[in-house]
């Protein structure tokens, strides 16, 4: 998991954009930092040679050391790394170069057969300077061009030789006007701007400069120059890319922090808008997916991380609202279902980025076995939607913070909409109840705004108390279980506080042994049949002098009084309320992280999109 970017301008960059190319590439990399931030580097073509600068550390930390702003030119590639092979060190940072320093490469992904290639190249006299898989690429290209291959022929050979996932941007010093690229599995897009062309791992990298985009497919390779774009596919031959140009409707503003100290807080606050956009567009797109799911014998839902918690909510909805045989599983465990998938099954694959490799592998396996696949993603035309039978999208806009917030609530909204439509077709639920649910759904965006506005200040105060804790429990029953699991994950990933979630009825079967005075226990209490049972669990925690926090439906002051800290939530049916209950837990995690002096946008050891198995 890394971010790569390349830009080639029509003439000197400082003439074209009024800033040196080093500064431009830094800007692009900052927008890709969510993909990894172990190390950073760039290569710039400058007066006949390729200058490479790289270092470990976050971009803004090493900005001075690398001196981005000192370099001008017309062509540059850059890289921000999330280490997979080789430690995050200066010499393992990209770009990597060949022996002569004439070919520079940045890479995202993993090359599986790099060890054998490395042996072969070493035997041919090539000297390796890093422990990375990437370094085989420049040496291999050096070997090929040395044998008289043109750059494009060398790429053709490269695609045939390399195994694994890779997106590459390559500069040859003897072809100073072109950036060559290759894509297999790992994402890569071309951005077509005025007087400059970009290649990048993701659209936000260059969104400030252009919104005209070509999304590349597996096996695509070619080059970009200010006057020409050439794309060829290893299977299909020359690609007519003009038909694939899309205009993305994100504005550059949407990827800036807009006055919020962290992307995560901004994205929490954007949830009303994200829900509004998602609900508006889902109505138009959901038809096909509804038909597929309604005809299913069995439904599987798969995802990783936060999306998996959305899958669990989806499972609950499909079970209880539609009476379907639905099961969710964590995507990386897909192999155990290999013999289970068969024709008539439907797999719902949920991924914010649409590129999550584990989920993608599960999708491929299920399709191979004859199951139909419905994808839920936030990034249009990404790998999982492309490989699925039907795709439905959340319209949350780009999410930069590593911890998912607005995409989670948008996923819940999509799944809720899907489930109500399916229930309508199957006749599994009282139409009056479905109508009421639909009315509640239309009020969700507004209510989400109200929840944030009413509780942000109080939760900021609560976070001061949670700051020094080392553990927490998140408990619920019914639909409250996955919501609690999501709450616990948020606290773990950005506040580094160990948190566990489980169905509240399980307390007395073990976990309650951990509870002592002041142990934080957070309850999600819905206005449903589990309410009284759950309050029993609250009492059981209070008896052990735990510090209890409750999300409780409005209109039950007696319930609220029984918590040390209560957050009153709008009183809706649990299905619709679940979307809103996620929000206070996001704020709890965010403000606890801030109170502990951490950076919630960049949790240690984590990357936004996981594209390695």
């Amino acid at each position: 998991m890394c971010g790569i970017v390349g830009v080639v301008c029509n003439g000197l960059c400082s003439k074209q954009f009024g800033k040196p190319i080093g500064m431009l590439i830094k800007e692009c990399l900052l927008n890709l930092e969510y993909r990894g931030y172990d190390s950073v580097g760039f290569a710039i073509y400058s007066s006949g040679r390729v200058v490479v600068r790289k270092s470990r550390g976050k971009i803004l930390e090493v900005e001075r050391k690398l001196g981005f702003d000192e370099f001008d030119g017309s062509l540059a590639i850059g890289h921000t790394r999330w280490a997979t092979h080789g430690e995050p060190t200066d010499y393992n940072a990209h770009p990597h170069v060949d022996c002569s320093g004439r070919i520079a490469v940045v890479h995202n992904g993993i090359i599986h057969n790099y060890l054998e290639l490395k042996e072969y190249l070493k035997a041919r006299g090539h000297v390796f300077r890093s422990e990375t898989d990437t370094e085989v690429v420049p040496h291999l290209l050096e070997e090929l061009t040395g044998r008289g291959y043109s750059a494009l022929d060398a790429l053709r050979e490269l695609v045939r030789t390399l195994r694994g996932a890779y997106a590459l941007a390559i500069v040859f010093s003897h072809e100073p006007g072109r950036i060559y690229f290759v894509r297999n599995v790992s994402p890569l897009v071309i951005g077509i701007g005025d007087g400059a062309v970009f290649v990048a791992s993701d659209i936000p990298a260059f969104l400030r400069y252009t919104n005209r985009v070509v999304v590349l497919e597996d096996g695509d390779f070619g080059y970009v120059s200010p006057s020409e774009i050439y794309v060829e596919n290893s299977v299909k031959g020359v690609v007519e890319w003009r038909g694939r140009v899309r205009v993305v409707d994100w504005t550059p503003d949407m990827v800036a922090k807009e006055g919020y100290p962290h992307y995560m807080l901004k994205e929490i606050h954007e949830q009303p808008t994200a829900l509004r956009n998602t609900l508006a567009s889902i109505a138009l797109e959901v038809g096909e997916a509804v038909k597929v799911v309604a005809k299913a014998n069995r439904v599987f839902l798969t995802a990783c991380g936060t999306s998996y918690h959305a899958a669990l909510v989806g499972e609950y909805l499909l079970n209880t609202l539609c009476g379907l045989n639905a099961t969710s599983f964590i995507a990386s465990e897909y192999l155990r279902y290999r013999k289970v998938f068969r024709e008539g099954d439907v797999l719902v694959a949920i991924s914010q980025s649409g590129e999550t490799i584990d989920t993608l592998m599960a999708v491929r396996e299920a399709r191979k076995r004859g199951a139909r696949v419905v994808a839920v993603a936030n990034v249009l035309f990404s790998a999982i939607p492309r490989e699925s039978d039907v795709a439905i999208y959340t319209r949350a806009g780009p999410e930069i913070a590593v911890a998912a917030t607005k995409t989670f609530t948008a996923q819940l909204a999509v799944l809720l909409y899907l489930a109500t439509e399916v229930a309508k077709i199957l006749g599994s639920e009282d139409p009056d109840h479905l109508g009421e649910l639909r009315r509640e759904m239309t009020s969700l965006p507004e209510l989400a705004g109200a929840v944030i506005l009413q509780h942000e200040a109080r939760i900021r105060r609560l976070a001061e108390k949670l700051r020094d804790k080392t553990n927490a429990f998140y408990l619920g029953r019914g639909i409250g279980v996955p919501i609690s699991m999501e709450g616990a994950l948020k606290l773990k990933e950005i506040a580094y506080i160990h948190a566990e979630a489980y169905p509240a009825g399980e307390s007395k079967h073990g976990p309650i042994a951990l509870v002592e005075e002041g142990f934080p226990v957070l309850f999600a209490v819905f206005d449903d049949e589990f309410r009284d049972l759950l309050m029993g669990n609250v009492e059981e925690m209070r008896a052990r002098r735990a510090f209890t926090v409750g999300l409780v439906p409005r209109g039950y002051p007696d319930l609220a009084r029984r918590f040390d800290f209560a957050v009153e939530m709008p009183r809706l049916t649990p299905y619709a309320a679940a979307v809103l209950y996620a929000i206070p837990y996001q704020l709890v995690a965010y403000y606890t992280s801030v109170a502990r002096g951490l950076d919630p946008d960049k949790p240690r050891n984590l990357a936004k999109t996981v594209t390695v198995e």
């Binding site: 919020y260 100290p261 807080l265 954007e270 009413q454 200040a457 900021r460 001061e464 403000y591 801030v594």
Partner: protein, 387 residues
């Protein structure tokens, strides 16, 4: 960032602070002392760090601030403006003529991390206007904003009608405004109405600040500010001209300034600041978050915890001073005890809350006014004010 240097910053430091008058005695609030420096210096430091160079300091009496202005030398060009009329409206009107175009408006009595102001610098680069908002409880006493959505303020107002109302953000004391704002204040005669007018015309982008932030309004706000400022210290420093007895114990991050003297068997646990020419008597215990601002005497066998002791105050032997603010030049005679756990039924605005051994305590000690004298062996109740 190129434009930053040219945009002037207006710092409002004219406020006397009615709620804190017992400590200031009518002198400006911004000149209260915190870890050896004036409150307003923390604001000016942040401004300098962001690369601004031109500052208009609006004050009641320019002579009070002359040494502050001089201290920044060439790093910041600090110009003193005399406030023509009282209240914030008067302060804003005083910058007429000095400020033409866009400007940053900053309160001189708000202590916050430099990152808070950075949000406005980002807006400046994009040519927008904005205001810092802080999610705070008890918004009654602040200028507040109600949000329409995440990017728009619906309305600014002075406090809220009903205590404990929710859905409001406190205005964080920093704005990026168009030059016309000065005219709007004059036209409407009210600061908040001018904000509303500016918001309608230019759209003030709300910047939500989630980090630490203290608006010094009540005496015990100084305690929270002390906490944050002392937390920023990263190592112990003992000045070469300080005298520290070899039997005393210095534990943690403690700054002992020039000419201070720590007598035998005294114990100082950091973070703490011992100002210039202070004297700590033998066997005295100074615990975390204590700031002795300078020329203080703490007699022997005393204990001081989380307190702000302003310049020249004396604390007699065998006293216990906790969660208290001791005013400039005051005298606490020997044996004075400050009680500081606020009973649950008593409501205090913005007290210090802390958790020890699983229980939450609301703590406020005594406020000993500027130049006051506390008789020997007095027991002061929580929140008691001695004038």
């Amino acid at each position: 960032m190129v434009g930053v240097r040219r945009v002037p910053v207006v710092v409002l430091a004219g406020g006397v602070g009615e709620r804190i008058r017992v400590l200031t005695g009518g002198r400006p609030k911004a000149l209260l002392s915190l870890a050896g420096r004036y409150l307003v210096e923390y604001v000016l430091d942040n401004i300098a760090e962001l690369g601004f160079t031109e500052v208009y300091l609006v004050v009641g009496n320019p002579r009070d601030f002359e040494d502050v202005a001089a201290r920044y030398g060439r790093r910041l060009r600090v110009e003193l403006l005399q406030q023509s009329r009282p209240e914030i409206e008067g302060a804003v009107e005083s910058v007429r003529g000095a400020v033409g175009g866009d400007f940053l408006l900053v309160y001189g009595d708000v202590v916050a991390s430099v990152d808070m102001y950075r949000e406005l610098v980002d807006l400046l680069a994009r040519g927008e206007y904005g205001v810092i908002l802080v999610p705070e409880e008890e918004v009654e006493q602040y200028t507040v904003a109600r949000m329409r959505d995440s990017t728009t303020v619906e309305e600014f107002s002075r406090g809220v009608e009903t205590p404990g109302a929710v859905g409001y953000y406190a205005v964080g004391g920093a704005y990026l405004l168009p030059g016309e704002f000065v005219d709007l204040v004059e036209a409407y005669g009210s600061f908040t109405e001018a904000l509303n007018a500016a918001n309608r015309k230019y759209r003030l982008r709300p910047c939500i600040w989630s980090g630490w932030w203290v608006d010094v309004e009540y005496p015990w706000d100084l305690l929270r500010a002390t906490l944050y400022i002392l937390h920023k210290l990263d190592r112990a420093i003992v000045s070469s001209s300080a005298r520290v007895a070899h039997t005393s114990t210095i534990d943690g991050v403690v700054v002992i300034d020039e000419g201070a003297e720590v007598d035998h068997h005294a114990v100082i646990k950091g973070p703490a600041y011992i100002g210039r020419n202070c004297y700590i008597g033998s066997h005295t215990l100074i615990r975390s978050y204590v700031s002795l601002e300078g020329d203080n005497v703490v007699g022997s066998y005393s204990e001081v915890v989380w307190s702000s002791v302003q310049r020249g105050a004396t604390i007699g032997s065998r006293s216990y001073i906790g969660f208290s603010v001791v005013g400039e030049g005051s005298t606490v005679e020997p044996g004075v005890i400050t009680l500081n756990v606020v009973p649950e039924q008593v409501k205090v605005s913005r007290p210090v809350r802390m958790e020890r051994r699983g229980r939450e305590y609301v703590k406020v000690g005594a406020v000993i006014g500027r130049g006051a004298r506390v008789k020997a062996y007095t027991v002061l109740k929580p929140c008691e004010v001695v004038e």
